[in-house]
Amino acid sequence: MASPPSVVTPEVVRRIAELARLRVPESELPRWTEQLSRIVGHIDLLKQIPEEAFGSAGSEPATPLRPDVPEPGRGDEALRENAPRELHGFGAVPRVVGSA
């Protein structure tokens, strides 16, 4: 019996690449689609677990919080040092609001 068509189509890859802020050139689209289809095909083994096997989802314990006591920060200098572009002591990005 032929396997069902994969849910991963070139159109889906284009869409998720856009969501992930990655550029996938059209020439590479068939290869990405084929690889991701095979991986998702393996992941589809999860569908073999019968629905009745699942109980109610276990609740995770609440994340513990540390005491809210101010501490000196350690990041300012590192932030400046690592910034790809710095202007007047701040990290700079392209203009976001208004025109240049």
Partner: protein, 493 residues
């Protein structure tokens, strides 16, 4: 001692070296000089390190010697360590073997590095890894492929392949890696060293660059179980900077090493034996069964039925978390920026140029699993199946104190063999992923060499926070297995 009368540091384990330095019979400086000269002599072939930092290491070694002279006895005095390139070490770069983090300098020590520093360890360099810890062969590093010290044609495993190879090659007695789905245990098995992943929540992840936050855990690699126990003891324990660390007493892992296994229930994982194992892997399990019986353990068989879908669960959960965690790498705050035209192209061009193919594949897969229309069928289903797997383990630990299975389905493969076939590469994690998904402590101990003289490993899993039983069983197995103490050929030659 070597023939010229110098201490044979390369043969020293962690405890032997630290005790010699702390006891004044050796110095941190001479131990670090020895490590640096070994790296200089053979790392051109093995390529375990992305960067070696001799000046900083020698300065740290001198500081340790001064502490010892002042009467301190730190538990890792003068021990040179290899840190995987995804953990912050103050004054060094952290790059995750990725172009996107080129030149990044962390704001200080990770909690693990701070604890190692306080214990007298010395950082000699950044160990190679698969980019962002995504891979099983260290071939996904943006910079170099680490070779297996037992056979330079073969990979060292991954993702912590640099740390594993550095320990196996006798460059350093201790390495640190991170394990998300087997990234400490799998390369340890490939290289013939001990690799230990603690219970999720035992070791702080502060200063570890996140891959999959519900799975990532830092752990040690060393040439003996006892050494791994000491290294683990130093880094373990609650940390206010990581809210997932658990306030559960660490106990006495080093003491547990000598405790033996008389009366311990050792469960062999039925599903692993039904996998159609390679003959030599299967034989290593038969040996393990005999070793545990001879040591006085009660050997039983246990079942964890959802082992069969653990790779499926893992590649949904880990990729989904990775796609979210790696969204921060966008060219705004660090790393080389590829476009300043507008904000959208800044993000897209920086990420497209900065990430390698495997990282992109995981981000795309994770984005898919979380996308509207697919979320419930993939991420939702994987999370529910993950709970079933945890329930399976809870039941199995009702029948056994520790669980045994292989670490790797076959010995280290040839470089390039699986690079075009990501799914086959993923399946090499089949035995390590279940413990990661359930948050369990697990150790890989070298079990012997194949006929082709390649290492294999046996894995021992414990219940959550059951590290002491894991170390006791691991030492009993290590003693019985008697892995050869030979220097691997590529490091010796």
């Amino acid at each position: 001692m070597s023939p010229d009368g110098r201490p044979a540091y390369g043969q020293y384990g962690v405890r032997q070296l630290a005790d010699a330095v702390a006891g004044g019979r050796s110095t941190a400086v001479s131990a670090v000089e020895d490590a640096l000269s070994r790296i200089e002599a053979a790392d051109g072939r093995i390529r375990a390190f992305l960067e070696v930092t001799p000046e900083a290491a020698l300065a740290e070694a001198r500081a340790v010697d001064a502490r010892v002279a002042a009467g301190e006895r730190p538990p890792l005095a003068g021990v040179p360590v290899a840190m995987k390139d995804n953990m912050w070490v103050a004054g060094r770069k952290t790059g995750c073997a990725s172009r996107i983090l080129e030149g990044f300098r962390p704001p200080g020590d990770s909690t693990v590095a701070a604890r190692l520093r306080a214990a007298g360890a010395v950082f000699v360099g950044r160990a190679n890894m698969d980019e962002f810890a995504m891979g099983s062969s260290t071939e996904n590093s943006a910079y170099q492929v680490t070779r297996n010290p037992w056979d330079l044609e073969r990979v060292a495993g991954g993702s912590s392949g640099g740390s594993a190879a550095a320990v196996a090659a006798r460059f350093v007695p201790a390495g640190f890696g991170s394990d998300t789905g087997g990234s400490i245990r799998q390369p340890a098995a490939c290289c013939g060293v001990v690799g230990f992943k603690p219970t999720y929540g035992r070791v702080s992840r502060y200063g570890l660059v996140a891959f999959a936050s519900s799975l990532d855990q830092i752990g040690p690699m060393a040439r003996s179980v006892g050494d791994a126990a000491r290294l683990y003891r130093v880094i373990a324990g609650v940390d206010p900077r990581d809210s997932t660390t658990a306030d559960v007493p660490v106990g006495d892992p080093e003491g547990a090493v000598g405790r033996g296994v008389r009366g311990l229930r050792v469960g062999f994982l039925r599903e692993a034996e039904e996998e159609g194992l390679e003959a030599e892997v299967s034989a290593s399990l038969d040996d393990a069964r005999r070793i545990f019986r001879d040591a006085g353990a009660e050997v039983v068989s246990v079942s964890v039925p959802r082992t069969s879908v653990s790779i499926s669960i893992y590649y949904v959960v880990a990729s989904a978390e990775a796609s979210s965690n790696l969204a921060r790498f966008d060219g705004v705050r660090y790393g080389p920026r590829k476009s300043d035209a507008d904000l959208a192209s800044l993000y897209v061009e920086t990420r497209t140029a900065g990430f390698g193919p495997e990282v992109k594949r995981r981000i795309l897969l994770g984005t898919f699993a979380l996308a509207s229309g697919y979320y419930e069928a993939y991420y939702g289903a994987a999370m529910r199946a993950r709970q079933l797997l945890r329930d399976d383990f809870d039941r199995a630990f009702g029948q056994a104190d520790v669980i045994v299975c292989p670490s790797i389905p076959s010995p280290a493969f040839r470089a390039g063999e699986k690079t075009d076939d990501p799914l086959t590469m993923y399946l090499s994690d089949v035995f390590t992923v279940p413990a990661s998904l359930a948050g369990l402590p697990a150790i890989s101990v070298p079990s012997g060499l194949t006929a082709g003289r390649l290492p294999l490993g046996v894995q021992i899993l414990g219940p959550r926070f059951g590290e002491e039983a894991v170390f006791a069983a691991a030492r009993a197995f290590e003693e019985g297995a008697g892995f050869p103490d030979d220097v691997p050929p590529a490091a010796a030659g």
